[in-house]
Amino acid sequence: MALDDAEAQKQIQQMVNFILNEAKDKAHEIEAKALEDFNIEKLRIVQKMKEKIRLEFQKKAKQMEIKRSMSRSSAINKARLKKMCAKDQVFKEIYKISSEKLAELYKDKEKYKNLIIDLIVQSLYYMQEPHVIIRCRDVDKAIVESCFNEAVQKYNDKLKTKFNITKNVKIELDKSGNYLPPPPSNDNEGKSCLGGIILSTPNRKINCDNTLDVRLKLAIEYCTPEIKRMFFENA
């Protein structure tokens, strides 16, 4: 049963080819598995990275949100401050205009005199002192002095009608040259006074400031709600 050489060779070649083919098939299977593993791994890594990027962007979005709300609240603050400043400005304007008007007041002698009398009476009420000294502006000297008697009269009248008492009060003008500052004008930059008087005890310990400046300030303070209602109410 000896096969001759050619036959043997042929059979060997056949077996070789067969084994080679089997090997190629196995290589094919390994490739297919590798392809699948590769795809799974790729998918996994892509998912991981996507997740990472998603988190990153979430963080960024949150940060932007925070920044936005911060800038929003600071803008609101700024606006509020501006509004306050503007309101303040309005009050300053009111003060200025009123001051200007008041500054003209002393020119009307009649009215001014009556005013001074009332101011003195009011101050006397507050002070309840037997001896007071009045300070006034240099320019008002004459008017003020002429008011003294009338003022005291009025004061006593009022006391009698209301409380049925009489008080003796002595008014004196301050002659020590300690006048209140002059009326405001474009020349003098320093202090100025719109008018009115300051009463004090002889020992200068008790003072009652009844100048028009102070009264203006008080008036504005007192009328602040009204002013706000007039100027700032939207309806």
């Binding site: 080819n17 297919a32 699948e36």
Partner: protein, 456 residues
């Protein structure tokens, strides 16, 4: 010895088919196409023809190396695929490409980097409908392979178009399966291939045991393996009974490469419960243990088998437990499975005392009902709760095991009047039932005096 003869005959059949292919390839390659004719008609230039002639004279191995290192030969060869050329030339070129790719799968990337993919697609698509089946086979194989390895070079419409036209190509069934294999490697198109009408038909046909063509069986099993990577497909395959077919094939087949791929399939499907049931029902574990001792040409198979056995053992431990037994009992139909083996009973016998031996009571019920059914069969046709003989046989076995292994088993069986019923069963017609009943009676009545004396 009979087994070996079968094995050898299968292998020789295998070798035969492979040989035929080899012979065909060689005959094509050995015959040099008539390049000169083309030089005369001026389709090919003179240098090209010289290069082609030189290429032809190289040995196979040298051809492969030359191909890898020189782009021009690739381009020139590819240009020869235009259909104006005669059949032999086209066959020649396609065979060269085929051999090179079979030899080294990474050649796809190389070829695709050299050639223009649009041209490749159009030439090869045209050739897929060529009247010569060899040409259609090879060209569709090459095209589907290019999709698989470099599917970025082709658009989705091109690939889907190709898939839809598969049925119209003039290819052999093996060629079709090669295409399926190639495209099933791409996850995105698995669904498209699965939905092709012919796909399941071809698969089922070739997985039948009666089919003798080992090559086709191998390719079908390969297709199934590629689908088992995704759980959704495992479910679908299970519904179409393909998993069962594969398991049957695995048990009977002796061809090494089919076994190898089947091992991979089992590895992939073991985590699904219903497939695991099939595996267990078909006694694959036993088959694997036997296969361990066979002689395989491929050394890796031994390792694969051992690994798989180990995994299956672990799964089995989780799977066979008392709960499943109760479940099965509640269904009323018992089958032979690992839940009715001595091993199961040895591990789980103490659990049967739960609920005052409810399980044993149920088993006794089954036997009683069956007897009643048989007695009343003549009278009434009231068969809405027919108990089949397998269930009864299994019940007998279980009772016997319980009586034998549980400390007071025999006494407890007395409580349920089992002995009388078993006696009646011995007189039945069904041989399985008779056998099991006899064994059971034996276990109930006899005592293991030696064990009793050793405990004293």
């Amino acid at each position: 010895m009979a087994n070996n003869n079968d094995g050898i005959s299968v292998i020789t059949k295998f070798v035969d088919t492979e040989q035929k292919n080899e012979i065909l390839h060689d005959s094509i390659l050995n015959h040099m196409p008539c390049y000169d004719k083309y030089k005369e008609i001026n389709i090919l230039s003179a240098e090209d023809v010289d290069l082609l002639k030189k290429f032809h004279d190289l040995s196979k191995k040298e051809k492969f190396e030359y191909f890898k290192e020189n782009n021009e030969i690739v381009i020139i060869l590819f240009n020869c695929l235009q259909t104006d050329f005669n059949i032999h030339l086209i066959q020649y070129v396609l065979t060269i490409f085929y051999e090179i790719i079979r030899n080294d799968g990474s050649s796809y990337s190389y070829v695709l980097s050299v050639l223009d993919s649009e041209n490749l697609y159009s030439y090869l698509m045209k050739l897929c409908t060529h009247r010569d089946t060899y040409i259609s086979d090879k060209s569709s194989f090459l095209l589907s392979g290019s999709f698989c390895y470099n599917n970025n070079n082709f658009t989705e419409t091109q690939i889907k178009d190709f898939i839809l036209k598969i049925d119209f190509f003039n290819i052999t069934e093996e060629g079709k399966m090669d295409i399926y294999i190639n495209i099933l490697k791409i996850d995105y198109y698995r669904q498209d291939i699965y939905e092709l009408e012919e796909f399941l038909i071809i698969l089922t046909k070739n997985l039948e045991l009666s089919n003798n063509n080992a090559n086709k069986q191998y390719k079908s099993v390969f297709c199934v393996w590629l689908l088992t990577f995704k759980d959704s497909f495992i479910k679908k395959l299970y519904k179409c009974n393909i998993i069962t077919l594969v398991m049957n094939l695995f048990k009977k087949c002796k061809v090494e490469k089919i076994i190898r791929v089947c091992l991979n399939i089992i590895k992939n499907i073991l985590h699904m419960d219903d497939c695991f049931e099939i595996i267990v029902d078909n006694n694959i574990i036993q088959t694997l243990t036997v296969l361990q001792y066979d002689k395989w040409r491929d050394n890796d198979i031994y390792d694969n088998i051992v690994q798989l056995l180990h995994k299956l053992d672990q799964r089995v431990k989780n799977y066979s437990n008392f709960e499943r037994y109760c479940h099965e009992l509640a269904n009323g139909k018992l089958k032979w499975s690992i839940l009715h083996t001595e091993k199961f009973w040895l591990e789980n016998v103490m659990q049967f005392e739960k609920n005052q031996f409810k399980a044993i009571e149920q088993l006794a019920e089954i036997i009683k009902k069956y007897i009643e059914c048989v007695i009343n069969k003549g009278d009434a046709k009231n068969n809405n709760e027919e108990i089949d003989s397998v269930t009864v046989a299994v019940a007998c076995f279980d009772i016997g095991e319980f009586a034998r292994l549980y400390p007071n088993g025999k006494k407890i069986c007395q409580n349920f009047n089992i002995k009388e019923n078993i006696m009646i069963l011995i007189a039945m017609k069904d041989r399985d039932i008779v056998r099991e009943a006899l064994l059971c009676a034996q276990k109930i009545m006899l005592n293991n005096w030696q064990s009793v004396s050793s405990t004293k």
